[in-house]
């Protein structure tokens, strides 16, 4: 079952909490503003460059404007990618056996490797619980604003065998561990995940959310 269309950390059909709703609208607003500025910069730079070429004046100004236009185009692409759902493991399919569990139960999933030649040797499948917690951070004007940070609460990983095109994985949920929660100051989210570990970079990964009852 796919994840929630607007909240990838939730299974489809789950109601997001106030914290999730707050962050979604804030992130969307930021992406729209930054994306708009970047796109406007690109258009202005391109117009100036076109004008310079038309006037037969491909001088230093035109080269600078071209460079600026390219920078703005890259910035726009970067911002668009920030807004897109994290993923990046198109050669692997992760399918949970179910999307709802209780603490202490066994979570099962199937991993299908569609292109073994693209599979990193260190690729692994895991069950992870994330916490999203609100903190007060400086707004740069002497005041503060609310922000949400995230951290891993619990995780378990198993290696994926590149020679096996289809593999079954099982993870035992801790009986006394955290359960799924959508809140205002704190949210807890469980997910099945496949990742290719990277040093000093964000791991390419495919996530599938599951809901864990108390």
């Amino acid at each position: 079952m796919p994840s929630h269309p607007r909240h990838p950390h939730l299974p489809q059909g789950r109601t997001p909490g106030r914290q999730s709703e707050r962050n979604r609208s804030g992130r969307r607003f930021g992406i729209v503003v930054l994306g708009g500025l970047a796109a406007a910069g690109f258009v202005v730079g391109a117009l100036f460059l076109a004008g310079a070429i038309e006037n037969d004046d491909p001088s230093t100004t035109g080269v600078i404007l071209l460079a600026l236009a390219v920078v703005f185009a890259l910035l726009t692409l970067l911002i668009w990618r920030m807004g897109a759902r994290a993923g990046g493991l198109g050669h692997v399919t992760l399918t949970p056996a179910a999307t709802e569990y209780s603490r202490g139960e066994r979570v099962q999933a199937r991993v299908q490797v569609r292109d073994a030649t693209r599979l990193d040797a260190e690729t692994e499948a895991g069950l992870v619980c994330m916490e999203y917690y609100d903190v007060r951070v400086s707004n740069g004007k002497g005041g503060s604003q609310r922000s949400t940070s995230e951290a891993v609460v619990w995780e378990s990983w198993q290696p994926i065998d590149p020679a096996q095109p289809v593999q079954e994985f099982a993870f035992d949920l801790p009986a006394g561990g955290p359960y799924s929660h959508e809140g205002d100051a704190l949210s807890l989210a469980w997910k099945l995940s496949v990742r290719e570990p990277r040093r000093a970079r964000r791991d390419p990964r495919a996530d599938e959310p599951v809901w864990v009852y108390p």
Partner: protein
């Protein structure tokens, strides 16, 4: 005398569906217009706290409360009350909350209880 509300509870832990009995003691309660207790599920992070769920309150007084009066109460944890959870940056827990309706901001005090799985 300024208003002081305290909650006394037996040691837990409690389980879902179990009654929670205790008493509220009031000092300086001349200005109280109403006093109630309820069970609430609270969540917190390092900098913020919020009420995630509030059970129906029990009214203990509808007007001024004599100084030192002890008011017993009995609340019942809901059958689906999730147990407490503590993470590295926050947690979820239940507490008995007493709210005194007074002129100006209400006086609210809470006392955490431990709720364990069945």
């Amino acid at each position: 005398m300024s208003l002081r509300v305290t909650i006394e509870l037996p040691a837990g832990p409690f389980v879902a569906g179990e009654p929670v009995r205790g008493q509220v003691t009031v000092r300086g309660g001349d200005g109280i217009r109403g006093l109630e207790v309820s069970l609430v599920q609270v969540e917190w992070s390092k900098d913020y706290e919020a009420v995630g769920r509030r059970e129906p309150p029990q009214s203990l007084a509808g007007g001024p409360v004599p100084d030192g009066r002890q008011l017993p109460f009995e609340l019942t944890l809901p059958l689906d009350a999730p147990p407490e959870v503590q993470t590295g940056h926050g947690g979820l827990a239940w507490e008995v909350q007493a709210k005194a309706d007074v002129r100006g901001p209400d006086a609210i005090v809470g006392e955490r209880i431990s709720v364990s799985p069945d």
